[in-house]
């Protein structure tokens, strides 16, 4: 692509002017890339600065124990390359991720891909269980008036119990009845993910206007017809909003369960092992991969929503 056309192109894209050397950069300027890159840059700079501060004590001890003379530059580089830093520098985490994601076969127990797969399996299974359960609960709450008053307080109360306290109990109890493997973790994930789906869908199923209900009443529509023709379509925005929260909660539940039930591996088990051996870099690498998993899951739900609304011709 020629650079001659470049000034025209930049002017055409939102009119932002900047002395950019190539068309590719011009395109980045036109989009959201620059603001995003600036924010990422700021975070990285703060991170490196914080790493110097957090790891300074260790570094001073290391130098004085070894009796080496050091410059400020040596000191700074030292804080960014410790083996067990309090706060690892971004490039250390990147290197760890590179090593454990791309450097090892995906079947290796030390591969983060292996652990991410273990976590995602339980997350998705739990998410499906929780969403179905949450959806059925919302149907009951909306259609049975006594359940609305009788059940909602219990549903809310269920979420006030800290999952960290509950997860070991569920694992132990299920172990007693010979339920092991994926299911206990999925149940804990489901325990967290059903709640947003229930609350969201109760609101969604009630979101149709009174006039839209009156209309169906004039046709003498049955409860089932009202559900299919009005309540469900009207609840769609709430459905996807609550599924996004639900899938993220499911991931959290799975990781918490894996801390308790670490023998099968998973990102939670990686976190536990990392903290057990003081491997901060490993912890951060697992955290980052977990965050990426969460973003991907939420993104997938969003993609399904967009796919459906494109087909439905929504605005």
């Amino acid at each position: 692509m020629s650079t001659e056309a470049q000034p025209l192109q930049t002017a055409g894209r939102g009119g932002r002017r900047s002395p950019v050397p190539s068309l590719t950069v011009a395109r980045l300027v036109g989009g959201h890339a620059i603001p995003v890159l600036v924010v990422v840059g700021c975070i990285l700079a703060l991170w490196y600065a914080a790493a110097v501060g957090m790891n300074a004590d260790l570094q001073r001890d290391a130098f004085s124990n070894a009796g080496t003379r050091y410059t400020a530059r040596d000191f700074m580089l030292g804080t960014w390359s410790q083996e067990r830093p309090r706060l690892p520098a971004p490039h250390q985490i990147a290197a760890e991720i590179g090593k454990t994601v791309f450097g090892l076969p995906a079947t290796s127990k030390r591969s983060l891909l292996f652990h991410a797969r273990v976590t995602l399996e339980a997350t998705l299974f739990g998410f499906v269980l929780g969403s179905l359960f949450g959806f059925v609960l919302s149907l009951l709450v909306v259609h049975v008036p006594s359940l609305d008053r009788g059940m909602m307080p219990w549903i809310v109360a269920s979420q006030t119990v800290p999952v960290v306290a509950l997860a070991p109990m569920i694992v132990v109890l299920l172990n007693q009845v010979a339920v092991t493997g994926l299911l206990p973790k999925a149940i804990i994930a489901a325990y967290l993910s059903f709640f947003p789906v229930t609350v969201g869908m109760v609101k969604g199923l009630r979101s149709a206007e009174p006039l839209q209900h009156d209309l169906l009443r004039t046709y003498s529509a049955s409860t089932a017809q009202t559900l299919v023709k009005l309540r469900l379509p009207a609840s769609r925005p709430m459905l996807f909003a609550s599924l996004k929260v639900g899938v993220a909660a499911s991931l959290v539940g799975t990781i918490v369960a894996e801390v308790t039930k670490s023998e099968d591996g998973g990102l939670g088990a990686r976190l536990l092992a990392g903290s057990y051996y003081g491997q901060t870099i490993q912890i951060w690498a697992a955290l980052l991969v977990a965050a990426v998993c969460g973003a991907v899951l939420v993104g997938l739900v969003g993609a399904v929503e967009r796919g459906l609304s494109a087909r439905g011709g929504g605005r």
């Binding site: 006039l211 004039t218 003498s220 379509p233």
Partner: protein, 276 residues
Amino acid sequence: MGLTTPLATGSASTRDGQSPVVEIDDVSLAFETADGVVQALSHVSLSIRQGEFVSLIGPSGCGKTTLLRVIADLETATDGHVAVNGVSPEQARRSRHYGYVFQAPALYPWRTVGRNIALPLEIMGVAKGERAARVKAGLGLVNLDGFENKFPWQLSGGMQQRASIARALSFDPDLLLMDEPFGALDEIVRDKLNAQLLDLWRRTGKTVVFVTHSIPEAVFLSTRIVVMSPRPGRVHDIVDCDLDRGRTLDIRETPAFLAVAHRVREGLRAGHSYVD
């Protein structure tokens, strides 16, 4: 009278205008609200015959919409007797005796115009091929040919309300209940829709009960005008409006039209003179 071939539809009891389509006898309705009991309707009696176009007119709070909702079984009278096609409003609703047009179009935004019009047919279990034919006919009836696959938000307010009228007519009810259907539209669109509605009424021979707060609209459309007054809602006067049924918008300049409009206005004024 322009209508030469009355449609032989509906229950036998309503034929020939002998027994009334809607019979309201000494009906009262009170709402329980947080501020106490509100008397929405007080001792209202009214009889509507087949093929009539009856307007309910009055200031806000006079109970005209409530009365329409009582006929439609969307509200239940606390006292008195109501019959629609000789049966209770609830039975009439269950046997789908009437079509209802609301103040707002109430189209479902996730359905195309065509599928909105098909909604009552889907609920009533009309076969797919028959549905398509009726939707097409309905679109033609309200001059919306070619808009079948548009979504409601792609239509103007007037077109949306026309679509809602087509929806109410899609299952061919004998009785059409309309609650200020053109209230939210500007006057030019309203005039046009009034003319179209009058034409539609002439062609189909439906019985129409029409709520409005516009005097010209009521006089232009109706064969009878029920003037209501507020607090408590009651019937103040019933004005016959036997203008030529082939009437056009020009009729509004004629002395006959103005005389009826004058009487309606006097009725409205007398009904709530204490407001001034």
